[in-house]
Subunit: 356 residues, 2 copies
């Protein structure tokens, strides 16, 4: 394989396996599978999903919705609070596809009521504990007010309650992830009961994070799942227990440009503009900006135990390694960096090399 | 001004003042001013430099060299160790412009000797203490070997010794930055003396980091300066003492999409894919991913004391603020985030809004 500069390399067999596993779980749980496409942002990877029967997707921006609408996807959720400044583009989209939007306030609902020109499905974002956006699950009155307001308006139909239980990313065990999922779905169920009692006709529940969707076996209490990261996985998911090393479907191929034997370091062309500055902190309190694998056949091999990316500047990656590996590696070789956060690496490296 | 989505906003007056100040210092110090264009990567900002008489530039990748060569820049240093896998592109460039390359090993010099098809100027990268790439300044023999090897080869001319004293970014005072600069230039001078004694005909010294170039008054011991970040500056440079708040020439305009009164938080459309995950740690051990300013006239106003970006996910920015500011801010307003690292934000937001 010919890599000259930092390149996102995708192992298709792993991608297909990851998609199949999640699609099977969705079928078994009887939920709609609406994968998040922000992870890959790639029409080619999109086709892998289409081949597995997926026809509903999630994106994180209006631009991304346009991009995939133009690729023929016609049922899209923008899982981000409505940005009212983009109402013209939202109206364009609403005329093209079945569009699902997210709100967290009556202000935004009123704005939509006044400005939307086509039918859209509107979901209420509920914060079940992540503490990012969404109405706090305890704030039942605000949630009811929003649902009633949506139902009352023409051009808007009420989709249901949507949450991203992203606090699973801060969990320290798979048991904790299961507890977070259980707590989250319990809160949504209780909210649904209240809304139904108050006369709302139908309330779907949409959940999303990759750790929950990977680790929890039975997702049947939800109506829809929206995981994204699972298509590639990464070091963060490996740390969380969402995947095994052999599920990680991407690595960034980086040319070796310099060596520092005094410090057992290899410098690669591959920096923050390719990998992002996302890092993990290991048990020795070291910042890990990526793990390393050598070339193996047409792909990358197993992750090396004693090597890691210790720092990143704009274009440089510094790899701490052992004298043995330093000796094996030459300028002009390719080393593979397993990213900490595959979504951010894939966002930066938009032209992936997709291997069979 | 009409901002609908995260947008890099550039204050031209500040950019021009920053360029003028550095150009004046270069003239006063009698050094070549070869600014690093990786910070802005913008042809429009490039023209600001051209108007101030700049005709030599620095870039950090072969692709960036091509980009600016096509914009009419014909004397370019790629301040990154030669990536031998890109030799074909390097040869193309060498045929188009006066090209300066960086090496840190005789292996790479031999490779260039065997493969380069046009004349290039080759500089030795010296590590004066940053501990990234470059030959350790103590390793005088390796540096001499490289210089001799370059001089002996046709198509290669020896440019001199180049360093990026990036350890200034870890300094805790401007005095420490001055000490690092003094130490760095002393090491380069001592190496130059050795090379001249050993018969190398001419040895130029090129230095680069923005903290040194901003804080040190007299740069006359160098022959060339290559700062980049100073054109925009950012929170990191403010923390280091390289600039004042009113020198920071960029902010990221972000639409407000959600509010959380319970936590005094505002959620903006503006995340890791717009700002990068670079952060500072403040005196209370809080991670700061950006500071906040409100709109003021056509630009942004002074930085707010009690507000900051407390976390970033792919598209969301969470701003911790006060009840007073939370009350003033509405969904659909624009808040300005002053970036921690302007180079990474500018790399992510390639179509800046350039204000007079």
């Amino acid at each position: 394989m010919r890599i000259e500069k930092p390149t996102l390399v995708v192992d298709s067999a792993r991608v297909e396996r990851n998609i199949q596993r999640m699609a099977d779980k969705a079928v078994k749980s009887g939920v709609v599978f609406r994968p998040h496409f922000k992870t890959h942002q790639s029409p080619v990877i999109g086709e892998f999903f289409r081949k597995k029967g997926v026809n509903k997707i999630t994106v994180s921006s209006v631009d991304m919705a346009f991009f995939f609408a133009e690729e023929g996807w016609d049922d899209i959720t923008i899982a981000f609070p409505v940005n009212i400044l983009q109402i013209d583009r939202i109206n364009q989209l609403a005329g093209m596809i079945k569009l699902h939007l997210l709100v967290e306030s009556t202000e935004t609902i009123r704005f939509l009521a006044d400005h939307i020109t086509d039918h859209v499905s509107v979901w209420i974002e509920v914060d079940t504990g992540q503490k990012r956006s969404g109405i706090d699950a305890e704030d039942k009155d605000s949630i009811l007010n929003c649902a009633s307001a949506i139902e009352a308006l023409k051009n808007l139909s009420f989709g249901g309650l949507l949450t991203h239980a992203g606090h699973t990313y801060r969990a320290s065990s798979t048991e904790e992830i299961k507890r977070i999922y259980a707590d989250s779905i319990k809160k949504l169920n209780s909210l649904r009961d209240k809304l139904l009692r108050k006369g709302i006709k139908e309330v779907k529940l949409s959940v999303g994070d990759t750790p929950s969707c990977s680790i929890v076996e039975d997702l049947s209490e939800a109506d829809e799942i929206r995981p994204g990261n699972f298509v590639y996985y990464d070091l963060k998911q490996l740390e969380l227990g969402s995947c095994k090393e052999e599920d990680i479907a991407v690595a960034v191929g980086c040319p070796v440009v310099a060596k520092c034997p005094r410090r057992n370091e290899v410098i690669v062309y591959g920096g923050a503009v390719h990998l992002s500055k996302e890092h993990l902190v290991d048990s020795r309190n070291c910042k890990i900006f990526g793990r390393i694998a050598m070339e193996s056949g047409e792909k990358w091999g197993t992750v090396l135990d004693d090597s890691y990316v210790s720092s990143l500047s704009q274009e440089h990656g510094v790899i701490k390694t052992t004298p043995e590996i330093l000796n094996q590696v030459n300028r002009g070789d390719i080393l593979y960096i397993i990213p900490v956060h595959s979504c951010l690496a894939a966002n930066l490296l938009r032209d992936p090399l997709i291997l069979p």
